[in-house]
């Protein structure tokens, strides 16, 4: 009996204190892929998020931000489940979610069922999430997969002299978007994409995929990420593969470049494009890299932040700065906060970012080449910086709409 009443008192005091705290805290739910194929990406995303909190602090006026993290596995249903849990159980008011392409589309659709809340995309990069039927309360401060490929096609065709390429990619929306961006530019310049292979996310045994790669092409484009990319490279090395490689944004990234083992050495010299370049000289970028390195001991981080860390940093930054602009005012369905988010321009480490009418980022893109720093660590070196990349990739919106949505076979290899 006495035990029970002690328990009750403890419980009620806990509830009371919870209610007292809730008045001065703003609750933000964060999701990251902390399970499955993209675990490493999710972990580094969270490091970027933590770096942003270290730099900016958690205070908004007299309120304090409280972050609640939920894990997903890159599938859309896991993302919706995590977001729903954060909203219904943890009562979060703002979401920083999600990480991966398919998740982004699902969360965008889910966002429409909660118009009173605000969703800040953490890192997902499928075109559809903001291009098709966008949710008014879904804001994306990173570019999409196609924007991240801007510059690569031309560089491959003009400087490297590649004329025919084949692609291998994971079979989901983000990689479709990446290949979309690549094909538009490469074929627009006059190149040919002879073959597009799609493998399920989470493929372990790539031997047959590698055997089926065509030999009559100048280069092979790899749109893989996380464990898939590492497995591919490992088996590519065992099969004695020697082709020129090109990489997508999460393929040529610290998540892969600093994986253990020597299979990654196949990537030295590979050209790629992404929303960042590891060795960019810009002081803002260098400051961010330093903050990231200082925040974690060397064995608990990558030598340099991955694209995911940067995206999480940027989106956390936008969220905090916009909240500060309205002094943490979340009244009348967060209207002021949303307005602030829509028009905020952030001075992100990877270049200035502003949003378009669909609340999609317009930002800076980087063409890179993988180099060895002499001590066995691989980095992406800047080849070209392209500012002001918008979602229609510089095309007239009407022309862009005719190309169709990214999929296994869209766009066709021709000049639009």
């Amino acid at each position: 009996m006495s035990k029970c009443s002690v328990g009750l008192i403890a419980l009620s005091s806990l509830l009371l204190s919870g209610a007292a705290i809730a008045q001065e805290k703003i609750r933000v739910g964060v999701t990251a892929t902390l399970e499955g194929t993209y675990t490493v990406l999710g972990e580094d995303g969270m490091r970027g998020h933590q770096t942003a909190l270290n730099v900016l602090g958690k205070k908004v006026g007299d309120k304090e931000l409280e972050f609640i993290v939920a894990s997903t596995d890159a599938t859309p249903d896991s993302a919706v489940r995590a977001v729903r849990k954060l909203i219904e159980q943890d009562k979060v008011q703002i979401l920083l979610s999600p990480l991966s392409g398919d998740e982004g589309i699902a969360v965008k659709n889910f966002a429409k069922t909660h118009p009173e809340l605000t969703f800040v995309n953490a890192a997902s990069g499928a075109q559809e999430a903001t291009y098709v039927d966008p949710a008014p309360n879904f804001f994306r401060y990173n570019m999409d997969g196609a924007q991240w490929q801007v510059g690569l096609g031309k560089y491959a065709y003009e400087t490297k002299g590649y004329r025919k390429i084949a692609t291998v990619g994971e079979d989901y929306s983000f990689i479709y978007t990446q290949v979309f961006g690549l094909v538009l530019e490469f074929c627009g310049a006059g190149g040919q994409v002879t073959n597009r292979q799609w493998v399920p996310l989470g493929t372990k045994d790539f031997a047959s995929v590698i055997a089926a790669l065509p030999d009559d092409v100048d280069a092979i484009y790899l749109g893989l990420g996380g464990a898939d990319a590492v497995n591919f490279l490992n088996q590519y090395q065992q099969a004695g593969g020697k082709a020129h490689l090109m990489g997508g944004s999460i393929m040529i990234d610290q998540t892969i470049l600093s994986s253990k083992g020597n299979a990654k050495n196949a990537l030295i010299g590979t050209i790629a494009a992404s929303g960042q370049a590891d060795t960019w000289e810009d002081p803002g970028w260098q400051k961010f890299v330093k903050a990231y390195q200082d925040a974690f001991p060397p064995n608990k981080r990558f030598p340099s932040p991955s694209l995911l860390a940067t995206n999480y940093y940027d989106s956390t930054m936008a969220l905090i700065l916009a909240l500060r602009e309205v002094n943490g005012d979340l009244s009348s369905n967060q209207a002021k906060f949303k307005a602030a988010l829509a028009k905020i321009e952030i001075d992100a480490p990877n270049g200035k970012i502003k949003l378009d009418a669909n609340r999609q980022a317009i930002g800076t893109n980087f063409v890179t080449e993988v180099v060895d720093d002499g001590k066995g660590a691989l980095f992406s070196k800047v080849v070209k910086v392209i500012p002001n990349v918008n979602q229609t990739l510089g095309y007239d919106p009407a022309v862009f709409a005719k190309i169709g949505l990214p999929s296994r076979s869209v766009p066709e290899c021709k000049k639009y």
Partner: protein
């Protein structure tokens, strides 16, 4: 064999034709029409070899699983965790000593020890309660997965392939004839061939041990009737511990193999648990030859599927399982 032919002449004929066709596809130089219809022979041969070598890996995992089930009626759903644990141990050893062979030995010993501990501390207490044991193994697999995530993080680990195994070798199989009349031979990763050969050796050794030794006789007797065996005075608990150790150790070895030609990361435990479940369901629970056949079928289905019907490759494995469950629910080579 002859009994099978006598009883099912039609089926035997179909099997013989299928085998002959497969051999022709592998050894003959393909006529141009065939290449146009189903692609280059190099791709086909690679897919077949990959399927067989992947089957070798699946066999290593599933044989321990099926052995433990056969003798103890214990559906060990923590088997995948043992696989991953063995892989991590193998990685640690190969990274610190640089010896690939040593990593197999240590991984085998340590996972076998974990298996012994599991049997002695956990499963002996709930002997004969199949459902409870199964539930406990699910719980254990979750605990192990989190412990390993805590210890090793979410990173991908690859066990370094020794230098003498890196790269492809040429096999005496002609994939095409160049226009100059010069034959092009199949180039195939050496490491996969070595791993396949090793799994065949292990499989044969297990078969010999089960069929030609006293211990094997005891185990087979235990599979048939545990109670009578115990009544004859055999120290059944010792047999249980040994079998559990062997099954776990094999999973550990498989972990090192998997870490060498694929990679190790959280989630692999579930994937290999699922793979070995499918393999033993197709092959027949408790049967070693069944595990070999099941592993071969699933490995081939996965690889050929990923080349010829990439969109539906994931489904093929489960379709096979469904068909087997519908037509021969006890599995292809089960005795009962």
């Amino acid at each position: 064999m002859t009994r099978f032919v006598e009883r099912h002449p039609a089926w035997a004929l179909i099997v013989i034709i299928a085998i002959a066709l497969a051999l022709w596809l592998i050894f003959a130089v393909w006529p141009p029409g065939l290449e146009d219809a189903i692609g280059r022979k190099r791709v086909f041969l690679n897919a077949v070899f990959n399927g067989i070598t992947l089957g070798g890996l699946y066999f290593l995992v599933a044989s321990g699983f099926t052995l433990i089930f056969g003798l103890m009626r214990n559906v060990n759903l923590a088997h995948g965790s043992l696989y991953l644990f063995g892989g991590y141990v193998g990685y640690a050893i190969s990274a610190s000593t640089g010896s690939w062979i040593l990593s197999f030995i240590i991984a085998f010993i340590l996972t076998a020890l974990v298996g012994v501990l599991l049997q002695v501390i956990v499963f002996r207490r709930m002997e004969g309660q199949d459902l409870r044991q199964t539930m406990v193994t699910i719980g254990l697999s979750i605990v192990f997965a989190d412990l390993m995530l805590w210890a090793c993080g979410g990173d991908f680990y690859q066990i370094q392939t020794p230098n003498w195994l890196i790269g492809p070798i040429e096999l005496p199989l002609i994939t095409a004839i160049k226009s100059s009349g010069e034959p092009v031979y199949l180039r195939y990763p050496l490491v996969r061939l070595v791993i396949f050969a090793a799994s065949v050796v292990i499989g044969v050794a297990m078969w010999l041990a089960l069929n030609r030794t006293r211990m094997g006789m005891i185990i087979r007797a235990g599979v048939d009737d545990r109670d009578i065996l115990a009544a004859t005075g055999v120290r059944i608990q010792v047999v249980f511990v040994l079998v559990f150790a062997l099954g776990a150790g094999l999973a550990g070895i498989a972990g090192v193999v998997g870490g060498t030609f694929q990679s190790l990361s959280p989630g692999e435990d579930i994937r290999f648990l699922l793979a070995s479940l499918v393999v033993v369901i197709v092959g027949g629970m408790g049967s070693i030859p069944g595990a070999a056949l099941g592993a071969l079928i699933i490995g081939l289905a996965e690889q050929l599927g990923s080349v010829y019907i990439p969109t539906y490759a994931i489904v093929v494995t489960f379709l096979i399982m469904v068909v087997v469950l519908a037509l021969r629910p006890q599995g292809l080579l089960a005795r009962r």
